[in-house]
């Protein structure tokens, strides 16, 4: 019997542990998806494959409502936070240290440092009072809250991209008669575009996924898809929740895959 060559990278049992981990990561998701095709009325039984719960979810007006609200919220928050983050990234990169620069880094990343539940109740305290004072209880509060915690996520890829771009190209543009605005418009912005798209997508996913902060900020009747699902989980759940979750999951996978490719493409 031929002796196997010595593999310097091998460690006994690691491969097994790794495969077990991957199995564990995907088993629950697989179960969730499988049950969404259950024809039975309850999650306790399996009555064969059916799309009835997808159809039922599709016609559920509360689900429709929540989906639309989730999308409106995620698009608004992602757009606003990406604009603010792009400006902030331009203001905090490619410069000598100036007074307040470290403060800006810390401040922009602050929402990442505090547990969501804490931010959630703090916003509840402030916004509930503002709601009483102003009488306004629209989507604005949710948009503001989501924009705030999306900014550090949108900021991340944009800042990273800017830091890897030195100022030589902008100097070259200035040397070739481009005014500062034209240099930004024709050189900086096109080079930054993949990072801005990545930042937007990150912010979009983060906003779409949020449940804790939304739960505390929303006014009555302002459920997003995640808070609607959280509410449903309190009671005896029907496979309809699985159907919604499956669709949501598919959307996330598509977004992450897209993000992955946008981020990988070198300009």
């Amino acid at each position: 019997m031929a002796k196997r060559p010595f593999d310097i990278q091998a460690q006994p049992g690691f491969g097994f542990m790794a495969l077990l981990t991957f199995f564990a990561l995907y088993l629950p998701i697989a179960a969730l998806v499988a049950y969404s095709f259950n024809a039975a009325d309850s999650l306790s039984r399996w009555d064969g494959v059916s799309l009835r719960w997808f159809i039922s979810a599709w016609h559920n007006s509360a689900v429709q409502d929540a989906s639309v609200r989730s999308l409106v919220l995620a698009v608004s928050a992602a757009a606003l936070s990406t604009i603010a983050a792009t400006m902030a990234a331009l203001a905090t990169t490619r410069t000598r240290p100036y007074p307040g620069l470290t403060f800006k880094y810390a401040f922009i990343n602050q929402p990442l440092m505090v547990p969501e539940i804490v931010t959630g109740v703090a916003l509840l305290i402030v916004f509930s009072r503002i709601k009483v004072w102003t009488g306004y209880s629209g989507l604005g509060y949710l948009i503001a809250a989501h924009t705030a915690f999306c900014i550090p996520f949108a900021y991340l890829p944009i800042r990273a991209r800017l830091e890897s771009m030195d100022l030589t190209l902008e100097r070259a543009a200035a040397d070739l008669y481009a005014t500062p605005w034209k240099a930004f418009r024709f050189v900086t912005l096109p080079l930054l575009r993949p990072a801005i798209i990545a930042g937007f997508m990150l912010a979009f996913v983060i906003s779409l996924d949020d449940v804790v902060i939304t739960e505390f900020v929303k006014s009555g009747g302002q459920d997003t898809l995640p808070t609607y699902m959280l509410g449903q989980l309190r009671r005896e759940t029907s496979p309809e929740i699985n159907a919604i979750a499956t669709v949501f999951l598919a959307l996330s996978v598509v977004l992450v895959t897209a993000f992955y490719f946008v981020n990988r493409r070198k300009p």
Binding site: A173, A174, D175, L176, Y177, F186, L191
Partner: protein, 405 residues
């Protein structure tokens, strides 16, 4: 007052359909007379750039570093002018001040007699070839070349014609639709040149543009650059730390060290008649000899060496030494001969290094100092000098130059 007078506009492109038919495609009108709306008077032979007592200090307080220490220099029109010096000598800083990427701390920089210090880079009719080329990665070769003209708001047809002309000039027609990441280093270099030349600047600044190329390509580009400068008639200011490159290409060279310009002159001047020790040392191989001035007048001196021999030496301009002086003798300007009384110096061969084109003899003089003699090789010629041989060194009447320091 004319509104244009406070602004040096970029040169106007001439409409010249004949260019396309031109065999070389390089008939570029470049003199100020062809420019539109520019206040620069036509004065051939005048200075293109005048740097007057410019200081540039980086940092504040105790961390202050003077990158340029009161530098003055005039660069003539249509000249290939080189700033030569080791890294950190301030040559790139001076280039950046002329380009407008940095402000001088004091002093002024004149372009055709007008102070350009208040102008941002995009209002200076000066273009740069960057060390890293700084080609726009999101644009094609042709788009890169046309960028400057586009920013100047030139009509589309004119831009196209000019870009075509430039592509021909640098022989890149075949690759015009490529992205800049899809072409080789040498090709990127050509595109960078074409891009900087396309708006027909008054002055072209080149920041070590050949440093990223391999030896053979660098040699080719040296000739190419010289050709382009000749054909376009644009003033080139070239920054390099490579003395050989400077000697090959330049009309005049300014040798810089520690934020100062030490000497300005033609390559021959700089090599044969260095005024200071640094210049002599930085450029080429050099022997230094200590001596005593016997007499000095009209740029020539007679110097007595430690062996007692008296040799003639040329003097730096406006410098008349007395007492002790250091002489410079290039290794190829000294000859090895018999160790007799006629020899200026005497010593022992320590080492013989064969270098193909020539042979270096490393000698130890009788006073203990080192001396190198270079002799050109010929096939089968030249007697073998073994280490340990005693030899004399003859220094001809035009071989030695006295230094200021």
């Amino acid at each position: 007052m004319n509104r244009d007078s406070d602004r040096v506009t970029a040169p106007q492109l001439p409409s010249q359909p004949a260019c396309g038919d031109n065999q070389t495609g390089t008939h570029l009108p470049t003199r100020a007379g062809a420019l539109n709306g520019v206040i620069v008077p036509e004065q051939p032979g005048k200075n293109a750039i005048e740097v007057r007592s410019v200081r540039k200090v980086f940092g504040t307080g105790e961390n202050q570093v003077a990158a340029l220490d009161t530098v003055s220099v005039s660069i003539r029109e249509n000249e290939f002018f080189t700033l030569l010096g080791p890294s950190g000598c301030g040559k790139t800083t001076l280039l950046r001040l002329i380009a407008g990427f940095d402000f001088p701390t004091a002093g002024e920089i004149l372009l055709h007699g007008q102070d350009i210090a208040p102008l941002p880079p995009y209002k200076r009719p000066v273009n740069t070839v960057f060390q890293s080329y700084a080609l726009f990665p999101h644009m094609t070769v042709a788009q890169n070349i046309g960028f400057g003209l586009e920013m100047l708001g030139k009509p589309k047809a004119e831009i196209e014609a000019r870009v075509a002309q430039m592509l021909k000039l640098v022989k890149m027609e075949a690759l015009k639709a490529r992205r800049t990441s899809q072409i080789s280093g040498g090709q990127q270099q050509r595109v960078a040149l074409a891009r900087a030349l396309a708006p027909q600047p008054k002055v072209l600044l080149l920041d070590e543009p050949l440093s990223a190329l391999d030896y053979k390509l660098r040699k080719e580009m040296q000739i190419e650059l010289k050709r382009l400068q000749h054909e376009t008639g644009i003033t080139f200011i070239f920054v390099t730390h490579d003395q050989e490159e400077a000697l090959t290409m330049s009309d005049r060279i300014a040798v810089m060290s520690a934020g100062k310009i030490l000497q300005v002159g033609t390559p021959r001047d700089i090599y044969d008649r260095p005024a200071e020790r640094f210049v002599a040392d930085f450029i080429g191989e050099t022997n230094f000899l200590e001596g005593e001035v016997k007499s000095a007048a009209d740029g020539r001196a007679t110097v007595r060496l430690s062996t007692g021999a008296e040799i003639p030496a040329s003097l730096p301009e406006g410098f008349t030494p007395s007492g002790g002086v250091t002489l410079v003798v290039r290794p190829e300007h000294a000859q090895i001969g018999p160790a007799d009384a006629n020899a200026s110096l005497r010593g022992t061969v320590e080492n013989v290094v064969y270098l193909g084109t020539d042979t270096h003899f490393h000698l130890k003089l009788d006073d203990g100092s080192a001396f190198i003699v270079r002799r050109q090789n010929s096939r089968g010629g030249g007697e073998a000098l073994a280490p340990g041989s005693r030899v004399g060194i003859a220094i001809g009447p035009n071989a030695a130059q006295a230094l200021k320091d």
